[in-house]
């Protein structure tokens, strides 16, 4: 696990549900065929209404044209990020698009589990509301040891909550690696 994560921010609102992260109609693609897997990256966050895509101004597509990866690798969310369905395709789609971490005030349970257990990305909770303090395109640097996120675009800094009981699973890179490390399987 990288302890320092650098990347450009993509800012979203509250209650970003799994249909906005990856609309249900795209769940037909195989996750084990590489060319089809890329489609999940292409359609990542395609369900977000365009005026709310990339706050504060909106109208910033997460994925440009026919690309399958995004220039934005850190997502800033609000409350209840990833609510809705149980589809693991949601954190997977963000992972395929190149997202390394999400910072949000809170997460829906299944999305949080899927992110951690699947080893797709690191879901981090912020101590305060950040989607009104960080702008899409800001250059961020997350420090998972000090539990801080620095905004290098305007030299501000915010505290993050420690990963807590899931730290070991995150550090192992997912549930299966964790279980192998602990001789559970």
């Amino acid at each position: 696990m990288e302890k320092i994560i650098k990347g450009k921010a993509y800012v979203l609102g509250n209650n970003i549900d799994t249909d906005q992260i990856i609309p249900a109609e795209h769940l037909v693609y195989s996750t084990s065929i590489p060319d089809e897997l890329k489609m999940y990256g292409h359609f990542a966050l395609s369900g977000v209404p365009i005026d709310k895509a990339g706050l504060p101004n909106g109208n910033i597509p997460f994925i440009k044209d026919d690309k399958t990866e995004s220039e934005f690798t850190i997502i800033i969310g609000g409350t209840n990020f990833g609510c809705g369905s149980s589809r693991e395709h949601a954190p997977l789609a963000l992972n395929v698009a190149g997202v390394k971490a999400i910072i949000a005030e809170s997460y829906a349970r299944i999305f949080y589990r899927n992110s951690v257990d699947g080893g797709f990305l690191i879901p981090i909770e912020s101590e305060e509301k950040l989607n009104d303090k960080i702008k899409t395109g800001d250059e961020l640097e997350i420090d998972l040891i000090k539990n801080l996120v620095k905004n290098n675009s305007n030299k501000t800094e915010f505290e993050l909550k420690p990963l807590g009981s899931v730290f070991e699973i995150v550090e192992s890179g997912g549930l299966f690696n964790y279980a192998r490390k602990n001789q559970m399987i």
């Binding site: 209650n15 549900d17 609510c83 809705g84 997460y107 829906a108 559970m184």
Partner: protein
Amino acid sequence: MGKTITEKIFEKNSHRKNLTPGESVWLDVDVLMTHDVCGPPTISIWKNEFGDKAKIWDKDKLVIFPDHYIFTKNVHANRNVDVLRQFASEYQLPNYYDVGTERYKGVCHIALAEEGYNIPGTVLIGTDSHTCTSGAFGMFATGVGNTDAAFILGTGKIWEKVPESMKFIFNGELPNYLTAKDLILQILGDITTDGATYRAMEFDGEAIRQMNMYERMTLTNMAIEAGGMNGIISVDDVTRNYLNEIGIYSYDEFYSDNDAKYYSTYKYDVSKIEPTVAKPHSPDNRDIVRNVEGTKLTKCYIGSCTGGKITDFQFAVKILFGNKVKVPTFVVPASTQVAKQLEVETYNGITLKNIFENAGCVIAESSCAACLGGPSDTIGRSTDGDVVISTTNRNFPGRMGSKKSEVYLASPLTVAASAINGFITDPRNFL
């Protein structure tokens, strides 16, 4: 100190005592359920991660219901069902319910109840967020993703945090204009879409005890809409009678102790609740029907695990009988058993199916259908500019198809009344 039902089931299936909420434990899984959307990736993770050692922990405890994208020409969707079929055949799975055969059941959460997989006191995990539906049977049931499911497939185990519990008590006798859907929309408005995150939602009270199993399942089904880990209702004679009828007589009954600790308790007098809707674009955007009455509609939809059970159609025909719908209205029985019941059950001497046909509704085959949009040829899918009223469970942007459509969630009574007028209508106008 006393314990809640959920805590007692956690103790039983973790083989531990005196658990406290927040603690992580490994639970033995009694049933793992999956379907055509999450089954194929689950199988692929299981094969990759376990490699040569990949072995299904207990074939009898694995249940597979293809139900999401069934009646579509989408080749990728059809291939997903092929993957399940091959897997079931390769491993000789006893509990696979294949499309295009007599065994096909339709929506998994309803089929789990009908086929006797909902056993009080047990732990049922499914690769679908609405797996919490099964909690109506006094059991712990929750949804997970593919990695967790693949881990269970190989080990029979899942890690889970012991949830705190919230209690929702509905006192009084349910009036004829209300259904379980109105009650859960009421709760969602009160606690919002993350009001129960990581918690158990326990339902009780006279109004709940008067409900049949299908209505109870509407409540537990939408626990996930408040972020709940599970919804749960303790066993009573209604549960026992349902189980007896399908030949299930032996199980563990757990009850919350009088001194069990709850995160919070909400008490409602059902006589004060009005027909309720969730306005676009969130299940917690609650209002009473009277306040949005007159909103013009382009589609009406009665279906899904939430609102496509036999009781939902029994409610709808009370209003649709002898009337015609003014906008396209889709009737999608959740399961093939419900579809058969529509042909047999009567109201005023006419079968439910005929009442829907006479009213001008489109009756579709059993599946999840347009509840979650689905491939572009899915029946009832919303298109740009649509304003839909639906008995389903979610109305986030694009959930039923187009991002440029609006969805109101309501009870089958409210949807039926609205279908007749072509605009949102309080069911009391027809009752």
